[in-house]
Amino acid sequence: MSHQLGRLVSQILQRYFGEIVEKVGNDLFMYGIKPIGMIMKTTGLPRTQVIESLRTLLKFDLAKFESTSGNVDYKLLPDNVLVLIRYPRYLLQMKSKYGTEAELIVEELLQRAACSATLLLVSIANKYKDDTEKNLTIVTLKDTFISLATATYIQQAPVAQLKDGSDIPDLVQVASIVPDLDTRLLMQAMVNPADIKDNVYWKVNYDRFHQDFTDEIMINAMTRRIDDDAGEVMRLLIQEMYLSSSAWAEESNVVALTDLREHASRLKDRPLLQQHLEHYLKVMEENGAGFIRRAGDAGGGQYSVQVKWAARQLVESVLDHVVTERLGSKAARIFRLIRAKKYIEEEDIQKNAMLPNKECKQLTYKLLEEHFVSVQPMRKSQQVSGTQKGIYLYHVKLFDVVHVCREMCYRALHNLSRARSQLVSVHARALDKQRRVRTIVHGMRLRSEPQKNIDDVLETLTPPEVSLLAQVEKQLKQLSAAELELDRNLFILNWYLVYP
């Protein structure tokens, strides 16, 4: 676990949970596993604060505890901390796939970390009771909740179990049962939220979202490489794949052509796809970066999705972009050349890349310096001649390079986050003023005071302040957008690292 990750994690914790939690989190990150007493000692925080922080961390799944012989040790889960900045992406996914209700459910659930179905639905319904625009009813909310649970975007939270003779609970994963919610009871609960008795807790299943993301990336890649019909074939293949293969399999089980054809025949708006399905499969197999493979001939043909390989191809594509932007397209050419040839001598690089000797050497050394390529010295043992020149073979250790790139992402994310807090603290006064004015105006609107009074309050923000605030807002937006993009980038890298 790297220093860069640590910096990023503490930056995120501070932003979402404040300084104290950050202190505890950072302490845990640095030392790995620790009991409460030790945390108190190193951070110098009082016991209550440490416990409070740990509770927050545990609640959001950012840390876990382990009990060994009566002691309870805590451990931070840095990867889950990074997930915090991915929340907007989950919401977007929900909104585009299942609509506003789903988005609200997931949002509320993410905020509460874990919640019972009844309480969740009731609180959302109450919150938006007066919102005519959204037009929510408890019935639609309930239905959406059930479809989300069926599609396993949400699942039951682990249950604490006490083992005999110990007072430290174990968290046990339970199989989710799609709940049978009674609309009438929900209606009653809306009026009287205090006596909800539902005690089955739910939480968001990140993994399911991540699967969606990988699928989406593969489909888009095919669309870019061939065309949108090919992307559609990829979608069909992936759908079929989930029926028979485990979620993060390196390679899917085979999918039969007949099944694909049956699904394709339902896509009425894609006549080309129906007509040329087999051709599409063939072209994808040969020109689709190896995403799919013909696995057999039975029943007209069987295909499998090479998920691991696809992840590799995508990661390589990320790295190519990074090298291109950092060191120029010529360096990217060399990078790719070395990768294609596996092991290659300096002279051959120059010959194949068609670059002037000097430039080529410079770029190769630059690549070496930034750890995008590595070099392997070879000794010619039987050589007799006096000039014993060693051979140096260049090659790309993809796994290592992915780690290098990941570190860069961490750094970049940290820096963005840092720049953001800087921005906020520099303009703290203006932002604060804006917030106050907004609350006042909101209150006045609710009391339906005359427009003139409202305008008076609004005018306390001077024009320069208004334009400054607009600019700050734009910059904050830009920073958040960049953060999300970086997270997408990280996602691909981590996807590759999932496979050993």
Partner: protein
């Protein structure tokens, strides 16, 4: 027929014969210079025979023309023994050339003597000195009429031993343009993706023709040369190559699998100081110029 074109025709014939050391028949020769009538051809051949450049043999009832051994033909004129030895050594090296030190080692001649002989041979236009691309100081000798091997001259990409990177860049771009013109054919092609793919492919020969027609190259580019350029496109990630069943290579322009990822969209991703940027110190994200500029865009 002017004297000049006569020479050109003679050269043509000789080159044709050179390619096939076993000798060629009169009919084959006619195919080489189709612009000549049979009477003119006979005239040209007779001239060559007279000059002692080619020989005539009879094989299985047909007449075969062969090249006369040049060393015996030309060196005889006023050469002494040393010159012959050196000449033979150089001849053996063929179009790879031979280094002066090796000539000296093998001929056991002293340095000044050897230099003199080489000078004299050079002045008679029997041999020439060629600079080697791999080692700029190294000169190799070869027979005057030989085309230096690619390993010596570097092929089409070298002019006077200098690598012409601009020329390569231009060709690289032009090839890509050519491929891109047809790359879209694969997208939603009404005749199906396989037909579309075929239309989006370009063979190296097609590309070669396109480049030649553009007239951007002073030297004639062989298919091999064009393939070298096309391969750089593959390494650029802008094209993929495939092999047709008949063994010829085809190329297709492609898009990268993903749009530019997040890392290269932020200043830090392309920042040369990334690895020197810390929370405190001289370079920090808090007062980073790149960051500010980027935010103010």
């Amino acid at each position: 027929m002017s004297a000049k074109s006569e020479d050109a025709i003679q050269d043509k014939i000789i080159n044709a014969i050179k390619k096939i050391p076993k000798g060629i028949s009169a009919a084959q020769m006619a195919a080489v210079v189709p612009e000549l009538s049979s009477a003119e051809l006979v005239g040209a051949i007779n001239k060559l025979l007279q000059q002692g450049l080619i020989d005539l043999y009879k094989q299985n009832g047909t007449l075969i023309y062969k090249l006369k051994n040049q060393s015996t033909q030309q060196i005889v004129k006023g050469a002494d023994n040393e010159e012959k030895v050196v000449y033979n050594l150089i001849e053996e090296a063929a179009n790879k050339g031979i280094w002066i030190r090796e000539i000296r080692n093998q001929s056991n001649l002293s340095n000044p003597q050897l230099t003199k002989i080489l000078k004299s041979l050079e002045s008679k236009k029997l041999i020439k000195a060629v600079k080697c691309v791999n080692a700029s100081k190294k000169k190799v000798y070869m027979l005057y009429n030989l085309e230096p091997d690619r390993s010596i001259s570097g092929g089409a990409w070298y002019q006077d031993q200098d690598f012409e990177s601009e020329f390569v860049d231009i060709l690289n771009r032009q090839c890509l343009r050519f491929l891109q013109q047809r790359a879209d054919k694969i997208r939603n092609n009404p005749r199906g993706p396989i037909a579309g793919r075929t239309q989006s492919y370009a063979t190296a020969v097609e590309v070669q023709k396109y480049i030649t027609d553009l007239g951007i190259s002073k030297v004639k580019l062989e298919v091999e040369d064009v393939i070298t350029i096309l391969n750089t496109l593959v390494y650029d990630g802008k094209a993929e190559s495939n092999v047709y069943p008949d063994g010829s290579k085809v190329y297709r322009a492609i898009e990268s699998l993903i749009p530019p990822p997040g890392l290269v969209q932020v200043p830090c991703g392309v920042c040369p100081l990334l690895h020197k940027c810390y929370s405190t110190g001289l370079i920090t994200p808090q007062d980073c110029k790149y960051m500010t500029e980027w935010l103010e865009q």
